[in-house]
């Protein structure tokens, strides 16, 4: 990845963070922490990796994306809007009655959303189904997914992990948003199931471990994952919940509440101006 691309991604991610904050403030609800921890990965996927077309959101050869941790919807919506799937101003309708931007992603309402998610633990199975279809139809698309680290406590994730390795879904590249927090506290305190890397390795996955806020590292990991001939890849992305907004970083209370007016202003001060604001 050259410096120009890197700067471009950084700027898109910065603006995306500001939009996430604005959308949450406007809706007065939603999940900032997990949106901010995943937005760099999403920015990389939509602006550097995925073959998608905002003009033709359903074309059959496209790469697919499943946000298994569906509560991170503001991050997905922001990436889609930045990419041109719909006007950015629509982000401010998040969670409002009649909006296409439902509290959790709804594939029937919003073009660009490949799977409806929100109930944790279900997304990876859906991604597997997409990857199986790709194999069956001899398509070369890749299926990407992002899972939460708290989500790992759901048994279905491990059922799906077995399916992916059994069917040698090397066209599946999943990210684990390892931000160490869930709702009731630290992952390690709520339920520590042991080392994620060794768990996924034991389940037959190709495992990589990176800094989930480092675009070069994400890029290298995805390129390596694409070289894999048999196994699905799990990229364990070490992230910071609330990343980019200092008072939200690593703070469990910012999992699922919107910032008030003052907090929004403060957050936006850190994130810098949006060109849409004319500031």
């Amino acid at each position: 990845m050259d410096e120009k691309k890197l700067d471009e991604l950084k700027e898109i991610a910065r603006q995306s963070r500001a939009w996430i904050i604005k959308a949450l403030a406007e809706s007065k609800s939603g999940h900032p922490g997990g949106s901010l921890s995943a937005i760099d990965i999403l920015t990389y996927l939509y602006f550097s990796a995925m073959n998608v077309d905002p003009q033709d959101p359903h074309f059959v050869d496209r790469d697919r994306f499943v946000l298994c941790k569906g509560h991170g919807a503001p991050a997905l919506y922001t990436s889609l809007a930045m990419k041109g799937f719909f006007p950015k101003e629509d982000l401010l309708t998040l969670r409002k009655l009649g909006s296409r931007l439902q509290g959790h992603p709804d594939m029937r309402k919003l073009p660009g959303v490949d799977a409806s998610t929100g109930s944790l633990g279900q997304g990876l199975s859906i991604a597997n189904g997409m990857a199986l279809a790709g194999k069956l139809d001899n398509k070369s698309y890749t299926v990407y997914a992002i899972l939460g680290d708290g989500e790992m406590e759901e048994g279905q994730v491990w059922e799906a992990a077995m399916t992916a390795s059994h069917y040698q879904l090397n066209n599946l590249i999943a990210f684990l948003d390892y931000n160490h927090l869930q709702i009731d506290g630290r992952i390690e305190d709520v339920k520590s199931g042991g080392n994620f890397a060794s768990r996924f390795k034991a389940f037959g996955w190709h495992v990589l471990e990176i800094d989930g806020h480092d675009f070069k590292a994400i890029d290298e990991a995805v390129l390596a994952a694409k070289q894999e001939l048999y196994a699905p890849s799990m990229i364990i992305a070490h992230t910071v919940k609330g990343k980019g907004v200092p008072f939200m970083e690593g703070a469990v209370e910012w999992h699922g509440k919107a910032p008030n007016k003052e907090q929004t202003a403060e957050a936006l001060k850190f994130l810098g101006a949006l060109k849409e604001d004319g500031r």
Binding site: S125, L132, Q156
Partner: protein, 313 residues
């Protein structure tokens, strides 16, 4: 009368459809010998996905395949399809209205010897409550094959309820199956018996016996529980009394679905035959149907009571 299990008809019809339509895929959770998807697996191994004993994962995977223009048929026992994987069916399949056909075998008491843990008696109620879900309970092998073709061509999620034991074949090849359309099997004006699934055959048998006593029962095969055939129910209500019969709990199944229409439009006395809010147990299918009162004799008794009640009121 010739007999055949609806699961056998399912397995065979699936192979037939598989030859015609290459966008069909089948998923299974380690019960292919019982659900009869093994027939499809042998014929089309590349389109058959063994998911192991992981029903939740199976439903999600079927959903993912369906987003890629596959028509996914997912099979396991009814108890696991609707119980263990309920929320996957609801959120991964029905919420986005994906083209997944949940074809569950071993529904109801007639699972038999495996006992109450394996006998789904609430699956119709559960599936019927989910928006976007269509619920179909074929009466025999012929109707099963016809229904399978119909649901392939229908775009959206479907729950198809199938059984384990051989049951009488009541239809010939010319029968016409339409989703949402009940089949009137006998004309009558003293009361209407509305049955579904494997209770249709004993309902017909009961109607035959009632004739000898001068009671003419109108008999319906309500194969589609949702969307329910309101017109048929209105016609049934004109007889002045309705008896519903199902191999399912009397809470939330066929009887409830019929009552919802009856009370809104044309209230008439109703009787509900089914499993009376209790679990099943071990036994042979026939012993169990008898023990739970789901026999032709008992249908005739209840029908007579209801017809008498109607004329005395």
């Amino acid at each position: 009368m010739q007999k055949k299990a609806t699961r056998d008809a399912y397995g065979e019809a699936l192979v037939e459809l598989g030859h015609e339509f290459d966008n069909i895929v089948v998923l299974e959770a380690d019960l292919s010998k019982s659900t009869k998807t093994e027939l499809f697996a042998k014929e089309f191994p590349e389109r058959f996905f063994q998911m192991g004993i992981a029903e939740q994962d199976m439903m999600g995977t079927a959903a993912g395949l369906a987003t890629c223009n596959k028509v996914a048929f997912a099979s396991t026992f009814a108890i696991f399809a609707t119980g263990r994987a309920f929320e996957q069916v609801r959120n991964s399949i029905a919420y986005p209205s994906l083209n997944v056909k949940i074809c569950a075998t071993h529904a109801g008491l007639t699972v038999g010897e495996d006992g109450g843990s394996h006998q789904a008696i609430e699956d119709i109620a559960i599936m019927r409550a989910i928006p976007n879900m269509t619920v179909i309970v074929p009466a025999d092998a012929t109707e099963t094959a016809k229904a399978l073709r119909a649901i392939y061509h229908y775009d959206g999620p479907v729950y198809l309820r199938l059984g384990r034991p051989a049951v009488p074949i009541i239809y010939d090849e010319n029968m016409n199956f339409q989703i949402g359309k009940a089949n009137k099997l006998q004309e009558g004006h003293d009361l209407a018996i509305i049955a579904t699934g494997i209770m249709v055959a004993p309902a017909m048998e009961a109607a035959e016996a009632l004739k000898k006593e001068g009671i003419l029962a109108q008999v319906w095969d309500m194969a589609t529980i949702k969307p329910i055939d309101k017109e048929a129910i209105r016609e049934a209500a004109k007889t002045g009394a309705i008896l519903t019969v199902e191999e399912h709990s009397i809470i939330g199944g066929l009887g409830s679905a019929v009552a919802e229409v009856v009370v809104e439009n044309s209230p008439v006395p109703m009787q509900f035959m089914g499993v009376e809010d209790r679990f099943g147990q071990s036994g042979t299918p026939d012993e169990l149907l008898k023990a739970y009162g789901l026999t032709a004799e008992n249908i005739a008794i209840k029908a007579k009571e209801l017809a008498n009640k109607k004329s005395s009121s």
